[in-house]
Amino acid sequence: MRGKAALWPAVAALVAGLLSIGLLAYFGIHLASNALRHEVEHRVDATSSIGVALVRSETGGLTGIVEAYATRPSLRTAFESGDRRTIEEQLRQLRRARPGIATTFASDPAGRLLAIEPATPSIVGRDFSFRDWYRGVQRTGRPYVSRAYVSQATGHPRVVAVAVPVRAQDGTELAIVVAAYSLAHIQHVADGLMSQGVQLTVTDQRGVVLAGPAAGSGLVSLRRNPQVAAALAGRSGVQTVDGENRSLFEAYRPVAPIGWTVVSSVPTDTALARVAGFRLGMWIAVGLALTLLLGVAAFMRTIWRRTRVEAELSRQVSITRAVLDAVRDAISMVDVDGKQVMANARMLDVEQEVFGDEPGRLSIEEAAQHFSDPGRYLAEHELERQNPDAELLSEYELVASRRQFRRLSAPVDDANGNRLGRISVLREVTAEREAEQLKNELVATVSHELRTPLTGVLGFAELLRQPDLDDATRMRYAATIHDEAKRLASLVDAFLDLQRIEAGALTLSVKTLDLRHVVQDAVDVFRATAGEQTLEVELPDEPVEVAADPQRLAQVLTNLLSNAIKYSPDGGTVRVTMEPADGQVRVAVCDEGIGIPAEQARQLFTKFFRVDSSDTRSIGGTGLGLSLAREIVEAHGGRMGVDTVEGEGSTFWFELPLGDRLTATRPRVLVVEDDPGAAELLVTYLGEDFEVEVAANGTIALERAQRRAPAVICLDIGLPGDLTGWHVLASLKDDLRTAQVPVIVCTGVNGHRRAGALGAADFLTKPFTRDDLLDAVTKLLPDRAAEVLVVDDAAPVRRLVAATLEAEGHTIRQAADGEEALEEIARQRPDAIVLDLMMPRLDGFEVLGRLQADPALREIPVLVLTARRLTAPERQTLGVGAVALLEKSDYSAGELRRLVRQALGTEGV
């Protein structure tokens, strides 16, 4: 679709181009044709008017000359006296007065020829009164230009006659002097006007051709020619005339006063030949323009296609690049000449470490020095060079960072089997190797930890078999065996507990309890067995209600107390305090021991870690206690830590959510942002609706997220330290604990595609608005969020269940008994109900019965949570209304969540 959309403008441009060229050609030709037509018409008309002027001046001039002769006194006298010689002499002179005069002659008033020059004696004396010139003079009494006629004089020229009467002094007509003007001469004059194809036709007053193309040897009349006729009628004009086989432009004019006509004409094809030439030129130009336009269009199309191909190619390259960069392995490829043609981001990181800022400057020998085993590196390199087809697998360690890589190197061929080069894939195995080492150490440690009590048991058992032992010794040995066996058992238990917790399978038997009692009980046990140490306990006066597994809590307290006593000097004091505050209760156990060096304090909660000090002498313990204690506290939704000052003592503390804590949890959003201003802004944006936690760098972010997975993570990319946002994102998605947490990449840099490739759920480009952020976060909260009504008369249980389900994104409403539950249900139908059975006023069985009775409520899934051991009939009753049953002794957060998901029909989503 995108291709088509891009094609339309090109087509439109092409059509517009064609249209404008067509219009230009059409109007060009039309205008040129019109202009030329006007010019031709003008020229024809001008020729005709020049013709008229010429004819007028010719005939006028001739008339003047003849008049001058006719008024000569000598000629008059000669006519009066009949002096023929003078008359003939005068006529000869007149004939020579102008070129074109064919003959000159004189007649008497009756029209009889008196004399003629050149002499034609045969016609002298003949009567010519029938001639037009005679009649004209007689009719007008003035000089007259005659019609054309064929003279009877020598040579019989075709002529027009200019006749002028000769009068005596009293006015009587003595004779008529005539000069016959040769039509050939008129033709000659007319020929002089013909140019550029314009032809001139001159007729006399009868329409007889005097000069022009139609003139022949005889007299030709054009009276029927409409133009000639119009001119004879005194009109003038210009017309396009269709001739016999061609059309003509013709201009016609009368020649006043002599009554002749002048018609000038030009064949249109000749006249418009230039237009035709122009038109041809124009069409050629149009053709060229069209060819050019089509060529350009074709070129554009090619370019466009290429651009599209290039865009697609570039998209593919970007995708490939993003995918390569998203891969955790470092990948590079060299061509057959050994030149690197591709390296992904990870590879560039590794190369940066090996080669610094000047890759390629190092020789292979120098590069080898950066690896733990340069000799092997060089040998592998050589092997690769000599066996281009070999796939090689090797492991390297970088000297500087101790990072370990497994390297796979293999040839790469194209589809046709041509060698493209060689690909190297470096997979960092540092963590695996470290894990292996840790595992080995753990095995050794476990082995050591188990063997010590085992040695005691076996050794004293052997000693016990000695026959000569006194009873006291025997009893002592037996007690030691018992203690060591117990220690062995607790070690195994602790170890299994820890494994179970790590597998997420710790079960808590949650009860509502007064934490003061649990603490007091634990302290009492120790007070009974404590040696020289003093145990001080400060407990609040009011009950401190928490929902917890008392045995597990006792386990935690026992561990903390035994550690405190173990590490306290004789006569030292161990103080136990309890401070409820801010929805939490904090229990702290302070000793006056030697404290713990800061770098070791961090490792305290690591399995089998024991502070390396001579003062740990004679202190038993599993090395698992603190690690286990922390897991237990966290399983209760709390946290645990230590504050220690070397040389002054340590305070181990844990915090549990308090029973009377309100709105246990809103969905947690972890904001990973190093810029304090930006972080504060995000907290402001999100704080109203979410529990917001800020991590200023990647390490903290990962630690927080892995400890307790938030609902959503907002991740900045430009972070300080080794871990960029991309690393954090990859690590989050790589860890089972956090892989499901949706991550919104919030950054100013580009990388939308990369974010997607690495598994980000959304991408916000800075700056974004509060609404952008809230929309993005809200959209990502679990779909399975539902409204769950928790019904239990024990508030701590309600709160524990609420906290557990709220962490899933559900909205929780609470009811303290059956009556309240039914009111809540009536007020608004919940999506699911978690129901306790034993409650005051209206118990769970009754609530279930009421729900079953109401068709509108029957479908609400009900999860029964009870501390009761149910009888078979009770189970059967419950089976009708409840979808699931969870006994409090089997309670675990995971199981509750699973059952609620199941009840909501979102399990497995």
């Binding site: 010590t452 048991v457 050794g459 000693l463 030691t480």
Partner: protein
């Protein structure tokens, strides 16, 4: 009682685990006089102070490991011939070799038998 030798041989037991020290003591008393050290540093100090005739040395101890204690004592001319029995939870050949290389005379892996320990110490202290 009167026939009691002028002086029982003195054995230094070095182990951070109280129960193991107790076991060693129970295994060797009353034939030998037992003195105890609870970590590596104390082992070296008490050895120099009390000049034991034999040393039962745990491999894994805080402060100094058994091997470090052994190396330090063997470097001292006063202790280059003192019989040393190494005790360790580790039963790996590498540890055995390290103990032998360090100059230990015997090597006992936990769990060890008290009678075996007594026999071993007796052998080592045989003139």
């Amino acid at each position: 009682m009167a026939e009691e030798p002028a002086r029982r041989a003195r054995v230094l037991v070095c182990d951070d685990e109280a129960v193991l020290r107790a076991l060693v003591r129970a295994s060797l008393e009353p034939t030998y006089e037992i003195v105890e050290a609870v970590d590596g540093n104390e082992s070296v100090r008490i050895a120099r102070e009390l000049r034991p005739d034999a040393i039962v040395l745990d491999m894994m101890m805080p402060g100094k490991t058994g091997l470090e204690v052994l190396a330090e004592l063997r470097a001292d001319a006063d202790f280059d011939a003192t019989p040393v029995v190494m005790l360790t939870a580790r039963a790996q050949a590498a540890d055995r070799a390290a103990a032998a290389d360090g100059g230990a005379d015997r090597y006992l892996a936990k769990p060890f038998s008290p009678s075996e320990l007594a026999r071993t110490v007796a052998e080592l202290l045989q003139p």
